[in-house]
């Protein structure tokens, strides 16, 4: 059995010197060739074939200038009118978070109670319930009424009378109101095609599930309204307005695109589904 007694080691640093030198040389060599090729050689060669000077090509390759080192950059078109002026920035979200519910309650009693009710249960079929609605959703719609991105015989003037802080307070107040929470009609009553549209959407028509945005906490767009326990007539009316394009304050035509592809009985089915209070 060979005995494996360690023979006295020669001085380690002598043995180590070549390793230290050769490995550092190899690693730096590889790194340098990568930097040389990536930063200088490739951009310059590519730039020359398309008539981009070396300096611009290198800046583009490093990401200091926009564009590819090998392609001309297209011109940017002229600006135009947006569909909605609301831009969610962190200070706007701070305003919403710190809105004063008491002042909101006072403003609601002064302006909104006639149609939307004190706690957000609207008095008429044509007025939406606002109890438990998302604060951001109310804020955006009021702001759109104020800037004219959305028009309504009464709401435009009401919104114009409110300043930005008042809008945030009203939104926070209604958002805090508990929804009526009737016992939701069991799912059995909702036709399976509607439940599927809400839960799975329709990949054929490019329709995402309603729940992927409208269910609380789904992680969808900030201004997505809560639909549960909303008035069926109101949902139906708004979907039809989106479908016809008359209402166009949805950013990037999200709702206009979907509503245009829904059939009338799908629209009615969805309206009753959400009126029943399903989340």
């Amino acid at each position: 059995m060979p005995d494996v007694t360690p023979s006295p080691p020669s001085e380690p640093h002598v043995l180590d010197q070549p390793w230290r030198m050769w490995s550092s040389l190899a690693v730096f060599g590889v790194l340098l060739s990568g930097i040389l090729l990536g930063v200088l050689v490739i951009p310059i060669v590519q730039g020359r074939s398309v008539g981009i000077d070396a300096y611009t090509a290198i800046c583009r390759a490093l990401g200091i200038l926009p564009g590819s080192p090998a392609q001309p950059q297209p011109a940017t078109p002229l600006p135009g009118m947006p569909v909605s002026q609301v831009a969610w920035t962190s200070d706007l979200l701070q305003i919403l978070a710190r809105a004063d519910v008491r002042r909101g309650h006072a403003k609601v009693q002064e302006v909104c109670v006639a149609c939307h009710g004190e706690r957000g249960d609207s008095i008429g079929v044509e007025f939406p319930h606002l109890a438990g609605q998302s604060g951001a959703a109310i804020y955006k719609q009021l702001f759109d009424y104020r800037t004219g991105s959305r028009a309504h015989p009464m709401m435009t003037d009401v919104a114009k009378a409110l300043d930005e802080a008042a809008i945030a307070d009203v939104a926070a107040y209604y958002a805090g109101q508990p929804q009526r929470n009737p016992n939701p009609v069991t799912l059995a009553e909702a036709p399976p095609s509607i439940v599927q549209l809400v839960e799975l959407g329709d990949p054929k028509r490019n329709i995402a599930p309603c729940a992927s945005c409208h269910r609380a906490g789904a992680g969808g767009p900030i201004e997505t309204p809560v639909l549960a326990e909303q008035r069926a007539e109101y949902i139906e009316q708004q979907l039809k307005l989106y479908a016809s394009g008359e209402r166009r304050n949805d950013v990037y035509a999200r709702m206009r695109t979907i509503a245009a592809q829904l059939t009338d009985d799908e629209i009615r089915g969805l309206a009753f589904y959400y009126r029943a209070g399903f989340r």
Binding site: P77, S84, A87, N206, P209, S212, R215, P221, Y252
Partner: protein, 185 residues
């Protein structure tokens, strides 16, 4: 140690390993040289255009406002496609491009990370909020292609796709304002 003098063995082992490492060097050189060759000759790069744009105000009035989206043909004949990748759809839902002609596609996201590829082509990019993604390509065959969002962007990710209509040169007729949209089929 073993009866035959060990030095012969040990040096021979390291010698064979060195020969093998030489072969590995050829492997590395082969893969890198193909990359370098096509980068030099036909400018093959991953799509990289470091252009920052605030996602929060994208929809207001800049390049990616709603009415600027779609395919436009510039006065110099350059074809530029502008599209938005937003939670759970592309706008426009149908993108028309000419075949066998250089096209620049520009994408932006107002909300979360998206990504897209066009099936059967080399168009592939991530769309990151805060940046404009730009891809230059040429579509070699006419026909309808699929452009799905290939990066998880929320519960509606699976339903997020658009169609790309690659039109032959003669069908591709932009309007007077240089804009063209999909043919209804």
């Amino acid at each position: 140690m073993s009866q035959t003098h060990p030095e012969m063995h040990e040096r021979r082992i390291l010698h064979t390993e060195l020969m093998w490492s030489f072969g590995v060097g050829i492997f590395v050189a082969a893969s890198l040289s193909m990359i370098l060759f096509t980068a030099f000759t036909i400018s093959v790069n991953p799509p990289s255009n470091v252009e920052r744009l605030d996602p929060k105000t994208l929809h207001l009035s800049g390049e990616f406002a709603e009415h600027n989206l779609g395919t436009t043909v510039g006065s110099d004949g350059s074809v530029t496609v502008r599209a938005i990748a937003t939670q759970f759809m592309f706008l426009p839902r149908c993108i028309v491009v000419p075949a066998n002609r250089r096209v620049t596609l520009r994408f932006a996201s107002p909300d979360v990370i998206h990504g897209l590829l066009i099936t059967g082509t080399n168009v592939n990019t991530m769309v990151v909020p805060g940046f404009v993604s730009q891809v230059h390509t040429e579509f070699t065959r006419a026909g309808d292609l699929l452009m799905p969002c290939h990066e998880y962007c929320g519960l509606g990710h699976s339903e997020m796709w658009a169609t790309v209509q690659v039109m032959a040169q003669d069908e591709f007729k932009p309007g007077s304002d240089g804009r063209i949209s999909c043919a209804q089929r």
